[in-house]
């Protein structure tokens, strides 16, 4: 039975268990003189039965569904005659996809060797057997759990304590999922990155200035050696992020100042939500805007003044990205400006300073650490932004500081290397994970530093 069907079935069973245990607890209570002689309300006996029914069954289901594919693949490979055992993981995945295509009827069995056809029938048999075993085991565990809980409905057991402890543990697991996610991210990039550094030395990755991740179809092909130097990608990322910050910091900061110090209540209450809309627009929309409107416009303007601009210039991507992060800068600056104590403002104004002088000479210096923290957060967002640069920046890894030329970024390369079919084992694919690791480390550092600055600044005025 399909996992998708088993899931609702288990939930229905849990509901039935709930109902049965509820009735049972009332039946047990009746001769004693009503439910007040039970240690807990009938609801808790029922809830305990439902939990006993669902949780073990769901754990079994998840474990089975998670590892079923791997186990079956291993068994199928083992049934192949020894001379056709795959030598590398890449070959294994090729053979496996052949086998599964034959099994699914997408590939005519006449076109493949006999052992593949035999393996395909093994695969089909294993899959249907696995489905049956899975369904039987899950249902058995569910019914078994429910029965166990049903027998334990007794006036001497405090079911409420059991239910509450279980719930609290479930809550803890949910909170710990964040840690698990971080661990998942770290491990998924680390393993592949280590494999990548086995092929390409880390010094070349960090210090070489050329990037062209070609993989050769044949070993003797010209240019079969890919170049994996991250410097041009990094300078490209920095160039685009710098342009974005050059737009976002002044615009965001000044609009925050205007809205918090000058604007009337009415202007503030309309302009602020509209400004925040900029943050809610999907990045793919900005990418579309950058690639199809801003980039051609910049190229035309540059041509008019006699400059040569690429149709995928860094400037277009940077400008649009800058607009995108304006609300981040403005709302963070707004927070920190408002956190500066009113007494400082009043003191400065009482001495005869104008509003702008108060702003520039008193509030701004006081708020500076917080503002810097906000800018760092915005920078981390600019560096990790993907869609705008995928659509509007180029693929060619140019080492340049000219904003009218096309550059590529770390995120663009991750996306292009991993989109579509790829073999899991080539240096080309693995390099994307190494880039991901680099991106993760850089953004993490920026965030940690920024959050620390912001927190320290807040404590200063509390």
């Amino acid at each position: 039975m399909q996992t998708a069907n088993l899931l609702p079935l288990v939930l229905v069973l849990a509901l039935i268990a709930y109902g049965l245990a509820y009735m049972r607890s009332r039946a047990v209570a009746a001769p004693l003189g009503g439910i007040r002689n039970l240690k807990a309300l009938p609801f808790y006996y029922a809830a305990r039965a439902a939990l006993w029914c669902a949780i073990p069954a769901l754990i079994v289901l998840a474990a089975w569904a998670g590892f079923e594919g791997q186990v079956i693949q291993g068994i199928v490979i083992a049934t192949l005659p020894p001379e056709s055992w795959p030598e590398s993981p890449g070959q294994a995945s090729l053979i496996l996809s052949q086998i599964s295509n034959v099994a699914a009827g997408k590939l005519n069995p006449e076109f493949v060797p006999d052992h593949i056809v035999a393996a395909a029938s093994v695969l089909e048999a294993m899959e249907s057997r696995s489905e049956n075993f899975k369904a039987a085991l899950v249902l058995l565990v569910a019914v078994g759990g429910a029965t166990f809980a049903w027998t334990r409905v007794s006036p001497h057991v405090n079911a409420r304590l059991n239910v509450e402890t279980t719930l609290r543990r479930i809550f803890f697991v949910c909170a710990a999922l964040a840690v698990l996610t971080t661990a998942g991210i770290v491990f998924s990039v680390i393993f592949e990155t280590v494999r990548f550094f086995n092929r390409v030395p880390i010094s070349e990755f960090l210090f070489s200035t050329s990037w062209s991740p070609q993989t050769a179809l044949r070993a003797d092909q010209v240019g079969s050696e890919g170049a994996f130097g991250v410097i041009p990608l990094f300078t490209g990322t920095l160039l685009i992020s710098a342009i974005a910050l050059l737009v976002a910091v002044p615009v965001g900061l000044l609009s925050a100042i205007y809205l918090s110090e000058y604007a009337s209540r009415r202007v503030r209450s309309t302009a602020k939500p509209v400004l925040e809309m900029l943050a809610g627009i999907p990045t793919v929309v900005y990418g579309f805007f950058a690639a199809l409107t801003v980039a051609p416009f910049i190229r035309d303007v540059a041509e008019m003044v006699g400059l040569e601009a690429s149709s995928q210039s860094a400037l277009a991507a940077g400008l649009v990205m800058g607009i995108m992060i304006v609300p981040f800068v403005s709302s963070l600056s707004d927070d920190v400006i408002n956190a500066v104590p009113q007494t400082m403002r009043d003191g400065s104004l009482a001495l005869g300073a104008t509003q702008s002088e108060t702003m520039k000479k008193v509030i701004f210096p006081a708020a500076l650490p917080g503002i810097i923290g906000g800018i760092l957060l915005a920078a981390s967002r600019a560096i990790g932004e993907t869609m705008i640069v995928v659509m509007a920046a180029g693929l060619a890894a140019n080492l340049t500081a000219n904003p009218l030329e096309s550059v590529t970024t770390v995120t663009v390369q991750i996306a292009t290397l991993l989109v579509g079919d790829q073999e899991f084992d080539s240096a080309k694919t693995l390099s994307a994970f190494a880039l991901g690791m680099l991106l993760f480390i850089v953004t993490l550092l920026l965030n940690v530093v920024a959050l620390k600055i912001v927190r320290k600044y807040r404590e200063q005025y509390e």
Partner: protein
């Protein structure tokens, strides 16, 4: 005395300059707001300008005589004959009735290129389903060829290149005048999946894919997010484990979304062997991505429930868990819902992680399950925006308008919920 006068004078003399500076500073602020709001306006205007024509389709309505001789077909029930028959000939003949001057073989071929590439198969389907139509004349509405569509919709727009010959342009003008070629609301856009031909492509597949993905995301992120928030606010002891979890959540909120795509690729697809391009995996990746947002906003909602409520419940003998389940969660629910809807709106517009788990495949069929290959609305927009045919640009913009409509209504719902249900203590 004289010293003070000079100082007052200095101040008075500098006042003009200082006021000027003040005005200039104010102006800068207004300019900044103007730039930000102006670019939002330009963005919207540009997309509406590019996309409004995406909601219009160009059709050719013809009286097609299903002549058996012309099609080399005398029994529509015969599969072999159907596969050999010529279904283009009757369409050309029907067109010729309106354009009698086109009668050479080359001109007839040119004429045939006015209708879309799927017109012939429409005739075939009609005959296959109604074999007794053979020999009769039927009024059929065909989608015009993309080139015709571009010409009809954008003849005056220099940014579109017209790929029709002079001759064809004349014919199209004539047919438009006669009312044979007409434009109407593009229902194809909302009833089909992707296609290689812009006029035949729709966003229904992507909308359904988005819906399925969002359902998975919601089913995971909402309960888990609330449970995590409740644990951290109500149960967590003050220790290192709790601190570690909190630091992790705050950092995850700022991790670039593409990294979550790497996680999905390596763990869900690589380690667990889940299929590529399916809504379940996409939904799981997006759920992990939106979890921090939901946790953070739910914690704020729980914090805003006053302690007096908790104390009152504890006072009448409720256990900690009963306080939480019976009082805190119901009272914090509006805030939690608002946060979750905003998080879901974010997930709806997310593209990058889904590229990595293979939801960029070219998929024609509307997906019909959580384990069916699918794409989502933002990815569809990305695919169309990077397609080479110019007809896809207006579709991408139309798709953006639909996506933005969804997102704005979700955010409006969140604001409405907050206004309606929020309680001030």
């Amino acid at each position: 005395m004289s010293d003070q006068t000079t100082q007052a004078e200095i101040v008075r003399n500098s006042l003009k300059r200082r006021y000027r500076k003040e005005r200039r500073f104010r102006l800068y602020g207004m300019l900044a707001i103007f730039i930000a709001l102006g670019s939002l306006f330009v963005l919207f205007a540009d997309i509406i300008n590019k996309g409004h024509s995406g909601f219009i389709k160009t059709t050719i309505t013809l009286d097609v005589t299903l002549d058996s001789e012309m099609m080399y077909l005398d029994d529509p029930r015969d599969e072999d004959q159907l596969s050999m028959a010529d279904f283009v000939a009757p369409i050309i003949a029907a067109l010729q009735e309106h354009v009698p001057e086109a009668d050479s073989a080359a001109e007839r071929r040119e004429l045939g290129r006015l209708v879309g590439n799927y017109a012939a198969s429409e005739v075939r389907n009609l005959l296959e389903n109604n074999p007794d139509f053979l020999g009769t004349t039927q009024t059929m509405e065909f989608l015009a060829h993309d080139r015709v569509s571009t010409y009809v919709k954008h003849a005056d727009d220099p940014s579109y290149s017209i790929k029709l010959s002079e001759q064809q342009q004349e014919w199209v003008d004539e047919l438009v005048e006669k009312g044979v070629i007409d434009t109407s609301f593009n229902d194809v856009l909302f009833s089909r999946g992707d296609s290689r031909e812009p006029s035949n492509a729709g966003i229904l597949g992507a909308i359904v894919g988005s819906l399925l993905t969002m359902l998975v995301t919601l089913a995971i992120a909402f309960p888990v997010g609330i449970a995590a928030a409740v644990y951290l606010e109500e149960f967590a002891p003050q220790n290192k484990i709790t601190d570690f979890i909190e630091v992790n959540i705050n950092n995850l909120a700022a991790v670039p979304s593409i990294i979550f795509g790497l996680l999905g690729l390596a763990v869900f697809i690589g380690l667990f062997g889940m299929p590529r391009s399916v809504p379940v995996v996409g939904g799981m990746v997006l759920a992990l991505m939106t979890l921090p947002t939901i946790i953070i906003s739910s914690r704020a909602a729980i914090k805003s429930v006053p302690p007096s409520i908790r104390e009152a419940a504890e006072g009448v003998g409720a256990s900690k868990m009963q306080v939480v389940m019976h009082h805190v969660i119901p009272l914090a629910m509006p805030g939690m819902l608002t946060g979750s809807i905003i998080g879901m709106a974010q997930a709806l517009g997310e593209t990058a992680p889904l590229l990595l788990i293979g939801m960029v495949a070219f998929i024609v069929d509307v997906p019909d399950g959580f384990f069916d290959s699918a794409t989502v609305l933002p990815v569809q927009i990305y695919l169309w925006a990077s397609a080479s045919e110019q007809g896809f640009v207006e579709l991408a913009s139309a798709g953006i308008m639909v996506l933005l409509t969804f997102m704005i209504s979700m955010n409006a719902l969140a604001i409405w919920l907050r206004k309606r249900l929020e309680r001030r203590w």
